[in-house]
């Protein structure tokens, strides 16, 4: 369940659309729910969002499964989403992905045993001029090098403690 404050946010989002078109708030609400409920969307969370918008649960599931930013399984506290499309590949994203795999001892799509890190490969995020890059939470980390990756991992470990 959302807090009072978040429920007000939900109301504010729904008010952006004409009466009866509240379904348009679905994607913004799923973002909000994912942030609020541990970085992923469980069936219960999706049902809850459906009830907030007075739509059928299937209308939520079909959307949640379509968009790649919604996690349908639990993920680590920090998700490294490394771009691997052409422009990043040209600037060495393969090496960065290999480096992270070795450093964290996980494969793509896996989470470290301590639940801190998940490694994902993603398609173009619109930072091609600053490649190689990854998304970490809300922000982009660009011009990646092994040294920068080390620093980011350290930063996350410090924040987690």
């Amino acid at each position: 369940m959302f807090s009072e404050e978040k429920l007000n946010k939900v109301k504010e989002i729904i008010a952006r659309y004409p009466a009866g078109k509240q379904k348009s708030a679905l994607i913004p609400l799923l973002h909000l729910a994912q942030e609020e409920f541990g970085g992923w969307l469980s069936a219960e969370t999706m049902d809850y969002v459906a009830s907030l918008l007075q739509i059928k649960p299937i209308e939520v599931y079909e959307v949640a499964t379509f968009y790649s930013m919604f996690n349908l399984k639990p993920v680590g506290k920090y998700v490294f989403e490394v771009c691997q499309t052409g422009p990043c590949m040209l600037r060495g994203s393969d090496n960065i992905i290999d480096y992270i795999k070795k450093k964290l001892d996980i494969g793509v799509g896996e989470t470290t045993n301590d639940g801190l890190f998940t490694l994902k490969t993603v398609e173009c995020l619109g930072a091609c001029g600053y490649a190689p890059m990854m998304q970490l939470g809300k922000h982009f980390r660009e011009h990646l090098t092994p040294e920068k990756v080390d620093a980011i991992i350290e930063e996350c470990r410090v924040k987690a403690n």
Binding site: K23, L26, V63, G86, L90, G126
Partner: protein, 454 residues
């Protein structure tokens, strides 16, 4: 230095904020439009400017606007397409991050022209920090009477809302974007009806790219006729080019559409030449979906003329020897890059992004990816190259939306211009996994091109 219309004030400290933007002439175009012009007069200026859609298709903006249906009592909507997901393209991000008020002012003028009182900016979900920047700009504009009710006492009302997507390239296609904005999967609609007649919530809707809408501001400032004097022929005005790949100075550049490709790549004002002293092998000048060109065809057209950075210049020679300006996502490959691998990453991209509605795209993109994976990993057969050609031909033109074409073209162009590299992969599987094919004759007869005089 080339003339600039969008980024002319981008270097000013604090231009992101209302006060600085306003003090430097910001909202002057909106003031002019709302207070002294009728909507049809603004439309006339946009038509005269020759402005073409900056998202990739290059359709004349004024004409698109003139198609909007105006049934009595039905609201109309303007939707700003900030989904920017075409690999190689990151220009709108820069504009929204650094000069958000330019976009807000463009939305205001455009909404006034179209008679819209609600406007939605649909921004790709991964640009997660930008909505805050836009929302702050919207709040500032509202506080100063440029949004909300009775704007500047003119009686015109406008609200602008920012909506985040959630990771789907297809939502850059206008009808998929509308579906997504309605809270659904991003499945493109069959056209007609076009959004201008039946768009968001079945109401008349115009969907325009960020850069297109921002360009309306300088058009109003200097006038449509004056804007049309920038550039060459039907490529009027300036264009934002996001340059990436193996160049010295990746970044977003505003160019007047009157410079050559050679100048853009080699001059210090723009890309600053190929990185690490390497030679140019190939380039995809308009985002991942446009045809790749080898260096020799990129810098000079098949007729031997200098190729220009314009819609017509890049398209010179059709798909046989030309390409497209597209969204301006300019991807440069140096001599060390493997065309097969590069094509594979794009095939994987389109497979991942296919919405799955149309079989040729849903099945074909995955098939192309698997065949390319085999060739790249030294497990390809000679017949695979013809198979790839055959698959892409069967996708192109056989899907509801242009994603099918976008997936087919990179594969077609790679085989058209670099077939011997594919064959080399098949014939030398061991070697192909260790080194790349190199330049061969692609760069001939060009030596390391000398920087163009600026």
């Amino acid at each position: 230095m080339g003339r600039k219309l969008l980024f002319d004030k981008a270097h000013i400290e604090g231009i992101r904020y209302y006060d600085v933007y306003r003090a430097n002439g910001g909202y002057g175009s909106a003031e002019k439009a709302l207070k002294s012009m009728k909507p049809e007069e603004v439309l006339e200026e946009v038509k005269k400017s020759g402005l073409r859609g900056r998202g990739g298709a290059g359709f004349p903006t004024g004409m698109k606007w003139s198609f909007i249906a105006k049934p009595e009592g039905v609201p109309r909507y303007l939707v700003c397409n900030a989904d920017e997901s075409e690999p190689g393209t990151f220009k709108d991000r820069y504009l929204m991050e650094f000069i958000p008020h330019l976009l807000i002012e463009g939305l205001l003028i455009s909404s006034y022209t179209l008679g819209c009182n609600s406007c939605y900016i649909y921004i790709r979900g991964e640009y997660a920090w930008i909505p805050e920047i836009l929302e702050q700009a919207i709040a500032e504009a509202k506080k100063n009477g440029w949004l909300g009710k009775n704007i500047q006492g003119t009686g015109f009302d406008l609200e602008i809302y920012v909506q985040r997507g959630a990771g789907a390239y297809i939502c850059g296609e206008e009808t998929a974007l509308i579906e997504s904005l309605e809270g659904k999967r991003g499945n493109p609609r069959i056209k007609p009806p076009f959004p201008a007649v039946k768009g968001l919530w079945d109401c008349p809707t115009v969907v325009n790219n960020v850069e297109t809408l921002a360009a309306v501001v300088p058009i109003l400032r200097i006038g449509g006729d004056e804007y049309a004097k920038y550039g060459i022929g039907k490529s009027t005005g300036t264009k934002l080019i996001s340059a990436c790949g193996n160049i010295n100075k990746p970044g977003v550049y505003e160019i007047e559409m009157n410079i050559s490709v050679e100048e853009f790549i080699y001059s210090d004002e723009y890309c600053g030449g190929i990185a690490n002293g390497k030679r140019l092998k190939a380039c995809i000048p308009g985002g991942s979906s446009v045809p790749i060109l080898p260096a020799n065809l990129l810098l000079k057209t098949a007729k031997g003329e200098q190729r220009m950075m314009t819609y017509e210049g890049l398209a010179d020679g059709g798909f046989a020897t030309g390409t497209m300006l597209g969204s301006g996502g300019f991807i440069v490959l140096d001599e060390d890059q493997c065309i097969v691998k590069n094509t594979l990453t794009f095939a994987r991209f389109y497979h991942h992004e296919s919405c799955g509605q149309c079989s040729p795209c849903r099945e074909g993109t995955g098939w192309m990816k698997r065949v390319l994976q085999n060739i790249e990993n030294g497990k390809g057969k000679m017949s695979d190259i013809d198979l790839l050609w055959d698959i892409q031909r069967k996708i192109e033109g056989n899907t509801i939306c242009p994603l099918g074409d976008a997936a087919a073209w990179p594969v077609a162009a790679a085989i058209r211009h670099f077939r011997d590299e594919f064959e080399w992969h098949v014939l030398h599987p061991e070697e192909a996994t260790k080194r790349n094919f190199g330049l061969a004759h692609y760069a001939d007869p060009l030596e390391i091109a000398a920087p163009a005089a600026v």
